[in-house]
Structure formats: structure tokens, C-alpha cells
């Protein structure tokens, strides 16, 4: 049963890859997964996922809770290494290199990939120190203040905090904290930014600010965002991947295609809210 289902999804993916190639002529691939399987102990969290994520585009990962989309995200910068029972099979390519190769230093890898979490987690330090954190640990020897300003501007936070750079990052509102985390993530100038439900802990106004910001970020960075919010995925992403239970990638295509005319009945059911 599960075999037929997984082969179904494989076929679908193959079809998608076919349609991908039209866009792929203009888009280079930033991150690619090949036959990726992830297990937590005996539990399989990701089942044979292969997908290519285009550079400088927003790619949304949607699906019901527990479908493995966050796990997939954390495979890209190897944050799953922190979970002791987690086991990864298959390849995740970033910049043409499998990040799970033995000669890859996960710490060095994470310096090229920024990450924003579900709950804003600024450090209990000043706003300036928060943004400069990545620069500091990487031993950046240029003009830190200039980079801090540029990153805060990039995160659309500069105008609100430019007079209080020395006050604590925890004094900001939730939405501002999340933008501070985005500024922190882009300060060391990564190539990819991973976002794990970045707006789910925020009120709608703050969330819409972040959404606008994500649009701008895609001009310079590859953004991969996990979201529970279907409208959000439809609004901000160029490509959408739908994961369904068991960690299977069911459909992956241009966002408009997914939301207007999905190939799979299950995807349509999920998007219209009949299940999930």
C-alpha cells in the first residue's frame, strides 16, 4: 500500500520536474534534495523526497502538522544533527556539494545559511550586538556598524530602532523581535535563508510586515519558508511544495499551479481545507 503511494508521489514529482525545466532555464538551483530519507529512531519523518529549490526565489513548504516539512528545512543546514536519534539518508546538495559528505563541517555550512525560527529568539543582548552576532563569531574585521545598519535596513527595522541600538533586543515587540532575528540572519550575508513558520507567533499586522519583507529578501537571497498558512504561501511564494502525512512530498510546482489547478486530489483537498 505504502509502496504504491510512494511510487505515485514519485511519478508526480517526475512530472513536476519535467515542468520545472522550463523555469529552470532561467533559475539556477540553490538547494537540491535527492532521495532524502530521515528517521527519528524507528519513525520515518521524511520519505524519499527529491526536489530542486531555485535560487533567489521564495519556496514555500506547506502541509499538515507532523508531515516532515520542518524536518526537511532543518536538513538543509544540518540542524538535525543536534537531535541525537535523528538519522539522515540520501543527499542534500547546496552549492553543488552534498552537505552530508564527511568532509563538510556543519558549523561552516550554517554560516552560509541563515535561519529564522517560529518563536522570535533574539539574544538577551543589545540590538546592535544581536545583529552583529554572526559577524562577531565569524571574526569579521570590517566595519561592523555599517553592516548592522545595512542588515537592519534590509529587515525593515532600521527606522524603528536606529535611536536605541544599545537597548536590549528583548524590549522590542514580537514582530520587531522577529525582524531583528531576520536582520541577525542576513548580517553575515548568507546565500539561503530558512524560515520555520516565522509569522505563526505574531499578530496579523506584524505578520504582514514580515511577508512584505520576505518578498524583498528574495531579490538577494534564496528563501525557503515553512508555513501553516495557506494564504501566506499563496501570497509570498514563487514555488510551493506540499508535504502530506508520512513525510512524502506529494506535489511541487509553481505556486499558482498548486493553488489553482493541483494535479493531486489530496492536495486540492488539503488546500481547500477538506483535510489536514
Amino acid at each position: 500500500m505504502s509502496n504504491t503511494e510512494s511510487s505515485d508521489s514519485l511519478i508526480t514529482t517526475d512530472v513536476e520536474t519535467g515542468s520545472n525545466e522550463q523555469t529552470a532555464t532561467t533559475d539556477r538551483t540553490a538547494v537540491a534534495a535527492r532521495d532524502l530519507n530521515v528517521f527519528y529512531g524507528d519513525e520515518q519523518a521524511i520519505d524519499d523526497v527529491s526536489m530542486e529549490i531555485p535560487e533567489k526565489r521564495v519556496t514555500a513548504l506547506i502541509g499538515p502538522s507532523g508531515c516532515g516539512k520542518s524536518t526537511f528545512l532543518r536538513c538543509i543546514n544540518r540542524m538535525n544533527d543536534m537531535i541525537e536519534v535523528c538519522r539522515v539518508e540520501g543527499d542534500v546538495e547546496f552549492g553543488g556539494k552534498n552537505v552530508y559528505d564527511s568532509d563538510v563541517d556543519p558549523v561552516a555550512l550554517r554560516r552560509k545559511i541563515g535561519m529564522v525560527f517560529q518563536k522570535p529568539n533574539p539574544f538577551p543582548k543589545s540590538i546592535r550586538d544581536n545583529v552583529a552576532y554572526g559577524l562577531k563569531i565569524q571574526g569579521y574585521d570590517g566595519d561592523v556598524d555599517e553592516r548592522v545598519e545595512k542588515s537592519l535596513k534590509g529587515a525593515a527595522l532600521w527606522d524603528e530602532v536606529k535611536d536605541q541600538l544599545d537597548s536590549s533586543g528583548l524590549d522590542l515587540s514580537g514582530g520587531q523581535q522577529q525582524r531583528l532575528c531576520i536582520a541577525r540572519a542576513i548580517a553575515p550575508d548568507p546565500e539561503v535563508i530558512l524560515m520555520d513558520e516565522p509569522t505563526s507567533a505574531l499578530d496579523p499586522v506584524a505578520a504582514s510586515k514580515i511577508e512584505d519583507l520576505i518578498d524583498d529578501l528574495a531579490e538577494e537571497y534564496t528563501v525557503i519558508i515553512v508555513t501553516h498558512n495557506m494564504q501566506q504561501a499563496a501570497r509570498i511564494s514563487d514555488r510551493t511544495a506540499v508535504f502530506l502525512t508520512g513525510g512524502r512530498l506529494v506535489e511541487y510546482d509553481d505556486t499558482t499551479k498548486i493553488f489553482e489547478d493541483p494535479e493531486e486530489q489530496r492536495v486540492e483537498d488539503y488546500i481547500t481545507g477538506k483535510f489536514g
Partner: protein
Amino acid sequence: MATDNANAGGFGEVSRLRGVVFEYLSLGASVAGLVALGVLLVYVTIDAFDLANASPEWLLTYFLTLVVPFLAFCLYSANDPTVTRRALGALGGGLVAVAALFTAIEAFVAQIPRLSWQLAYLFVVATPVTAYLAYVGSRGRVGAVGFGLMGRLVGGAALGLAVGTLFLVFDPLVWFLAYTLGVVPAVALYAYGARRSAPRAVAAAIPVGLVGVVVAVVLRGVVTTYPSDLIIYAWTLAVPIAIAGWRVVADRGSRAAAVAAGGVPLAVAVAGGFLAGGFGVPGPTALIVLVTVGVPTAVYVHRAIDEGDGVVGLALPVLLVGGALVGALVVEAWGVPAPDPWLDAGYVTESPSSTAIEAGLYPAIVGSVIIIALVAVLSFVLGVGTSVFLEEYMPESGVLGSLTRLLQVNIANLAAIPSVVYGLLGLGLFANLLGFGLGTAVTASLTLSLLILPITIISAQEAIRSVPDDLRRGSDAMGATRWQTTKNVVLPEAFPGILTGTILALGRAIGETAPLLMIGAATTVFSAPDSLFSRFSAMPMQIYAWANFPQAEFRYGVVAAGVITLLIILIGMNGTAILLRNRAERGN
């Protein structure tokens, strides 16, 4: 009304009896302990300051010249009519109540030894009201400024005395060389690197400093002529502290004031150091104390004046000192009998003696301060190191995980081992096997460090565990190594909690007697230790020895004075640590 009753009846009633009984039992249990301790402390205080012999006139004089102005200051700062009314009500009502109750008990129940109703009023009513008003007053701007200034005066003096005490044991000449050859070049390099943004100079600062210190230790055996102690302390302590004060004020933007804030205390301290000898006060100590008091005070006064709010509060020290002087004059002129306190200047500066009048605690105080300083450093470093290793580096599962859990259980058990056993360990390991000697400061410090290490480790682990994992993951995702995450995120966030645990543990160490007896510490020594390997005594040891003396003056007066001294030093130490912790918390 009728409908209310009907409603109340309609819902029925839920019995709260058991909850209420439990509540009052808990309250009673906590109050009983506090009252018992309070009564003990009252009697110890009365004995230490010989208050039983204080005439009512003497008490009244100081109450009027010292306590009342202080209360007025607090009320002025609080500036709240309700508080004023409540305080006056408590003072007045308390007077009547205590007097009546006291007389009634004496008349009908029993005589209360060594206590008059005036003293009872002082302890039961005046002290709590003063404490409450001080608290309320400190929240007003004027009070905050006043207490801030007092804190700097008292704290600076305590710090200066502690530093002076440590130099009795640690060789100031090594420090002089290490400072000149190691610290100064390192700081200069760092400052140069930071200003010109030359990271290579900043990175070189620490190695250069270390090399300097090593060279200093080597040179100590070679160089034979040194400047006098006064010049050494002026150069190695007074000058850098004055420069720090100058920098702080200069950062606020006024050059002239900055020079004054650094220069005036420096000049006063150096002058005081040279003149102190004429008054029978050791010059180096005078210099250190003057500079640790003067510079922070000058910086603080400048800030208070700069902010311009509550400047009146700066008069608080004048008010208190003036009150004490006026009180003394009145008592002198009036000729009322004054108490002769056991705890006076002679008690804390002189050696033990076989006569109660001449007995002093000085060597034991020095011994305790040195031991505590060493224990604080050792247990903090070892405790934080172990807890970071256990929490951040050891895996939670697998063979190593089981090992971690085994270690955890054993550390928890170590905390429950009687201190006498640690004394035995210290005797066998440090005194005999490693040859640090019986009853030396090193042996005692190492033993006490081991004794409190489990407590320090467990509380530091708790503090580290309470740092949210979000922060660790956030730092990891930025590409920080484990060490960078620990150093930059986990430790700063856990620091206040770690400090709390260390404070509690140190409080236990300073009062320990049993392990000191086991390692052969002397109960009484007649001169302060002059090196880490000289025999020493600690305050609890000396108090214990005096408590066994046959003369009643020792058992009551001298012991009580010792207990009060011990408590004051303990509270001062804890207070400093708590201030540090609060500052760290606010820094977050």
C-alpha cells in the same frame, strides 16, 4: 439583600476549612523559626554593644539625633502622606503597646533578663519601621541618590579593606612587577587596537600580558630593590582606578569634571597614604581605602549633579555623621552613662588576648577573608567548568549519557556528606599527601572548596539548564561553535543564577568549623597570616574557642561581638554578590 442570600444558598457552599488550616500552619511554621532567630540576634546584639548598660537618656539622645533625622530623610524622599501617617502611627502606637505589654509581663509573668522596654521598643518597633522606611525612601529619587552614595562610601571602604587584607598574604612586589610588565602593556595594546581597529593588536594583548606575568615571576627572584609599598600601591591600584573614574565621567562628556573625578581622589589618597603613618594608621591601607572610596564616590556625585534630580540626597552621609557627632557631644555634655561596647575599633584591629577587655578578632578576620576569597575563586571556576561540561558537552544518551547520569547522582550525594568527612579528606589529601601543611590557608581553602563544590555545581547546572533552548538553537543556526554558543549566549544568561548558587554556598563555607578542626587549623593565632602557608585561624574557630573560656565576659560579650562581626562580613559579602547579580540581570 434577600436575593443575594437566596443566590448564596442556591449555589451551596464549598468547605475551605482544610485549606485555611494549612495556610495558617505554614505561616506559623515560618514565623516560629524567624522569631526564634530574631530573639537570638537581639540578645547577641545587646551583648555585643553592651546595650543592657545603656541608660534610657543615652538611647533617647541617639534616637533623636540619629534615627529621627534618618526617618525624616526617608519620609521626605518617599513624599507620600499615607506612608508618613502610617509610620508615625506605628512609632507612636508601638511605643504605647510595647511599654504596656512589657510592664505587664514583668509585673505578672516574669522578669525579662537584660532587656528594658526601651530596648524592646528599639528592636520590635523602631528597627522594622526604619527598615521599611528605608525601603520606601529608596524608591524615591532623593532616597535613591542618598543610599547610592552611602553604598559607594561603605562598599568602597569594604572593598579597599578586603584588597588591603589580601595583600597581607599575596606578595605586593610580584604584583608590582606583573602589573608593570604584564597588565600595563596588555591593556595599552588592547586600547590601541580597539581605537585604531587593529584586530592584531587586540589579539596580541592577552599573550603579551601572560608573558609579562611570567617574566615578572622570574624577575621577582632576581630584582632586589623595589620602591616603597606606598608607591607600589599608588602606581598599581590608585592610578588605574583613578583613570577608570576619569574615563567613566569623560564618557558622559565633561572634560574638566572628568579630570577632577579622577584626580582629586587620587591626590587625596596619595596624600592620605603619606600622612596616615602620623596617626598610627598603616599608610598603604589608608591609600587603598581612600582611592576605592573616593573615585566611585566622585563619579557618583558627578552623575547625581549632572542628572540634577534628587541632589539633596547627597546630604545623607552628612546627616548621619553629623547626627552621630551631635549625639556624642550631647551625651558627653549631659554626662549620662554610656554603654561600653565589646565590638569596637580595638576588637577588629587587635589580636586575641587572655583578658576579655583586650581580646581582638583581627587575625581571625584576616584568615577568614583570605580563605573566603580563595574559596570563591576556586569553587566558582571549578563549579562553572564542571557544570558547563556536564550540561553543554556531555551527550544525553548512549554510554556517555549513562556516565553523565551516574556523575549527576554522585554529585548530588556529595552535597549530603557531613562536613567532618570533608575535613578528613582535606587532612589526608591536602595536608599530608600533597604536603600543604596542617592548618594552613591553602589546605583550608582547598578543603572548603571541595565541601561547597557540589552545591555550586548543582546550582550552576540548574542555571544553565534554565537558559531557553531557543537561544542555543539560534546561536547554533548562526554557525556558532559549541564553545561560542556557551561563551556568548549560555553563560551570560545563566550568570545571575550561577552567582546566586555560589553566594549561598560561600555563606556556608564562611561559617564552617568542623572541617577546619579536622585539618588542624588553630583556634587562636596571635598574628595575622602573612603567607598562604602560614598558620591561620578563622572567625568561627575563634568564636568557638572563646565560648569555652571560663570567664563570663568572654562567653557573653566577646563571643557576641564575634558573632556580630561574622554576620556583618557575611552580609556584606552576600550583599556585594547580590548587587553584582542584579546588575547582571539588568544588563540583560
